[in-house]
């Protein structure tokens, strides 16, 4: 049993960061861990950023991750991954797993702010961790399920396949079934398995 494992899941409203946090939390609990998650609602729902924290381990007091202590940062959108990168550190060998589909914020055309290139994003992320995986999660999810919403579980499948998250596959699927029951589970399982498969085929 590991002492603690910290995951940040970030994206924008509607992308499914809270759902993914709930799936991991359920899986961790079924795996026998103490677990806590933290999420921000309200103003952030209206096209704003939604960062969620999931912490599991032997005994968890705080639901919020200490800066530099994230083990895994899942970015459902690249800019949002960059916004939370300080939860990672080289010291803690943080791994970033990000979807490369960009969603341009209104501040770019209206306030003349700049959306950095993927190259710049990855370069900056690397200074806050050990490894950065950039994936076509939204595109893959769209092909498979006719919706980009399953990009979150595609990334989870990838993380599972690459052993980036210390939870048994069986429990991750059970967690998914708990949070996304019925037909939703079958669709999302496809996206999860696709992520897994890509994890095994890519290095």
């Amino acid at each position: 049993m590991i002492k603690e494992f910290n995951t940040v899941i970030t994206g924008i409203g509607g992308q499914g960061s809270i759902t993914l946090a709930m799936i991991i939390a359920e899986a961790a609990s079924k795996n026998g861990y103490d677990v806590k998650t933290s999420e921000l609602h309200g103003l952030s729902q209206r096209g704003g950023t939604i960062p969620c924290h999931v912490r599991f381990g032997k005994k968890i007091y705080s639901s919020v991750i200490l800066e530099g202590e994230a083990n895994l940062i899942i970015g459902l959108e690249p800019l949002e991954a960059l916004r939370t990168c300080y939860y990672g550190s080289k010291l803690n060998k943080t791994v970033f797993l990000i979807d490369n589909t960009q969603i341009i914020p209104i501040s770019v055309p209206v306030c003349n702010e700049k959306y950095p290139s993927m190259k710049e994003i990855v370069k900056n992320l690397k200074t806050f961790g050990k490894k950065v995986f950039v994936l076509d999660a939204s595109k893959k999810s769209l092909e498979l399920t006719f919706s980009i919403v399953s990009s979150n579980v595609y990334l989870l499948g990838y993380a599972s396949g690459k052993r980036l998250i210390p939870l048994k596959r069986k429990f991750l699927l059970e967690g998914m079934n708990e949070v996304l029951p019925g037909n939703l589970f079958e669709t999302n399982k496809k996206a999860f398995e696709a992520g897994e498969k890509d994890a095994h085929s890519k290095n």
């Binding site: 609602h41 639901s63 530099g68 055309p109 209206v110």
Partner: protein, 621 residues
């Protein structure tokens, strides 16, 4: 998640949101009545009650405002039915007028008042209020849970204290506690009374001279509650160690950060964890501070525990040094584990492996475009704001209020020049108009209008001012997650009810210039604004159109196709009106300078078609 909350199996551990754990705690305490006015971070308490009330056999309502919600819960309690009312920090301000006398009358059946604070103003922009101050002000006990499990445990304890001492009890949450998910152990659900009788009692008549006697009794009651708490582990000393010269006093989520910081620094110091914030356990404090040389008080926002530590230290250990708001723990913003680690390092000489300052400095060097919250694509408010700005000009004063439309604060719409509190757009606009010749367009949402807008409107008529009021009637309380309001004809129990019509109220308030307009009809809206801006009496436009998010959800559910629009690149002059002045998030500016509608994001309101000077936008085939 509904079924989990009604899960009968005692001893089972389930993951619950702090807010859900409060609902479960209420069910395990035999609650019969709950009311609320929605507000982040505690909206999910009401929403969860709304989902399960019928199945659980209890009553729940969304009241018109927090004061009414509190009074309704008090009425139920005085009639022998256990009740819980929930609202956010500012909701307590609204309800406070009735909270104070309620402390005097006391209650009959248990009554719990949940208040949600939001340190760091994650979703409550109007102030960073610390509602713990209300406990002392109103003479009411207050419990402060640290996590989801304690949300349930303390709800039950709150009902126990309330029943035993016949007083309402505050349960104070912060965003981090309300929106934490954690493992909660379930106990048995208790079926409580859902009907009772109001038995007349002089106690309920707040009036002199007996009110003076009641005031004395309240203080006696608080002393008894303090004694009662000594037998409970609501306040406790963790890691007691007579050798340690440094100790920590803490409460709420700050306690969790202290425990994590110990783990990360590899230390263990004695901790006094306070769960009952008011009345504070003096004997336990005495015992804790007696042998210490130094105390670090770790609490969010105001120095409430700290002031008590100073007071008691003077009496029981005058030499002890006290650290906290004097440069160790900030008075504004959230307390974090980083702050606790830094404070502990300074006091113990320990070193943490990561230097937070240089870590943050490195992060701040990266330029990251802001992701401002925006009105959804197709939002009727955007159309109304655009029309108002186009007609009144940017020099007009735009009165702001509380709701989704607060997003009009951002460019390019910029139609919220002041934001105070629910309904305040009306009063402030009136005051400005009485002394200034500026044009004023004052915006207020439908639910906000019912909540606190009506007295302000009557005042405009009665005291003769002439702002243009636009009621943004999107047929729902959208900001907090689509709760029904009196304008919708549905209750919190999901039952049909009379639909209160806003324009009828406006007319009844004495307003003569009234129009109901669909904001998607830009021409009509602009003409009405133009006409009403020059009236010498107050005028009201009810801008009526359902929240687009709801419409789209309904259309999808019914298998209807959502219309999509596109830009004809041969006609587009690239003036940018649709992005720079309208700001629809579905319209993108491409790298080559052209404009493009993302069909995945477009929700087909067709307002962009009307604003395009080149008539370059049309329906997609």
């Amino acid at each position: 998640m509904t079924s989990r909350l009604l899960e009968a199996k005692s001893g089972k551990k389930v993951i619950l949101l702090g807010n859900e754990a409060i609902v479960r705690g209420s069910l395990e305490s035999g609650i019969g009545f709950s009311s609320t006015y929605p507000g982040t971070p505690v909206s999910e308490i009401g929403d969860t009650f709304s989902e399960i009330a019928k199945e659980a056999g209890i009553y729940f309502e969304y009241s018109t405002n927090e004061k009414v919600a509190l009074e309704a819960a008090a009425g139920a309690s005085l009639s022998e039915v256990k009740s819980l009312v929930s609202f956010k920090n500012f909701g307590l301000n609204v309800a406070s007028d009735s909270v104070f006398p309620l402390a005097y009358t006391g209650v009959k059946a248990g009554m719990v008042i949940v208040v949600g604070d939001d340190p760091n103003c994650w979703s409550s922009g109007q102030s960073e209020q610390d509602s713990r101050c209300y406990a002392r002000l109103a003479h009411l006990p207050m419990l402060e849970p640290s996590d989801a499990q304690e949300c349930k445990t303390f709800t039950k304890l709150a009902f126990e204290i309330s029943e035993r001492f016949k007083t309402p009890v505050f349960l104070r949450l912060t965003t981090r506690v309300a929106h934490e998910r954690g493992l909660v152990t379930l106990d048995k659900i208790v079926k409580g009374k859902t009907s009772g009788t109001f038995i007349k009692d002089i106690k309920y008549k707040n009036f002199p001279p007996h009110i003076m006697k009641t005031h004395e009794e309240i203080h006696d009651k608080l002393e008894e509650i303090e004694k009662f708490s000594e037998g409970k582990d609501v306040n406790k000393i963790i890691y007691p160690n007579k050798e340690s010269k440094l100790g920590i006093v803490t409460s709420g989520s700050a306690f969790c950060y202290v425990m994590e910081a110990f783990d990360d620094l590899g230390i263990k110091l004695p901790v006094l964890k306070i769960g009952l914030t008011y009345p504070l356990p003096e004997n336990l404090f005495k015992k804790f501070i007696k042998n210490l040389n130094e105390i670090l008080v770790v609490e969010e926002l105001d120095p409430i525990l700290e002031d008590s530590v100073y007071k008691l230290a003077k009496e029981f250990n005058p030499k002890v040094k006290i650290f906290g708001k004097n440069g160790y723990i900030p008075k504004a913003g959230e307390c974090t584990e980083e702050i606790v680690i830094s404070a502990l390092c300074r006091l113990t000489g320990k070193k943490y492996k990561l230097n937070f300052k240089t870590h943050r400095k490195k992060f701040r060097k990266i330029k990251i475009a802001r992701r401002l919250p925006v009105l959804c694509p197709g939002c009727p408010h955007r159309a109304t704001f655009y029309a108002a700005r186009a007609v009144a000009g940017k020099d007009a004063v735009f009165g702001g209020d509380i709701g989704c439309y607060i997003m009009g604060i951002y460019p390019p719409l910029e139609t919220q020049d002041f934001i105070f509190s629910m309904g305040a757009s009306q009063g402030i606009s009136h005051g400005i108009k009485k002394v200034s010749k500026q044009k004023i367009v004052s915006f207020i949402g439908d639910s906000t209008f019912f909540h606190a807008g009506i007295p302000g409107l009557i005042n405009m008529v009665y005291n003769k001012s002439n702002p243009l009021v636009i009621v943004l009637d999107n047929r729902i309380t959208a900001m907090t997650g689509h709760q029904p309001n009196p304008g919708m004809g549905v209750t919190g129990m999901g039952e049909q009810t009379k639909e209160i019509v806003i324009e009828d109220i406006v007319k009844a308030c004495g307003v003569e210039n009234v129009k109901v307009i669909d904001p998607y009809n830009l021409k009509e809206m602009m003409e009405a604004i133009k006409e009403f801006l020059n009236k010498d009496k107050v005028s009201v436009i009810v801008s009526k159109r359902q929240c687009r998010l709801l419409t789209v959800r309904k259309m999808r559910k019914e298998g209807m196709k959502i219309p999509k629009f596109e830009i004809d690149q041969t006609k587009c002059t690239r003036c940018g009106e649709c992005v720079y002045n309208f700001g629809c998030p579905a319209i993108m500016k491409m790298k080559d300078g052209s404009f493009f509608i993302d069909k995945n994001l477009c929700w087909g309101c067709a307002v962009c078609v009307q604003i395009c000077p080149a008539k370059a936008i049309g329906a997609s085939r």
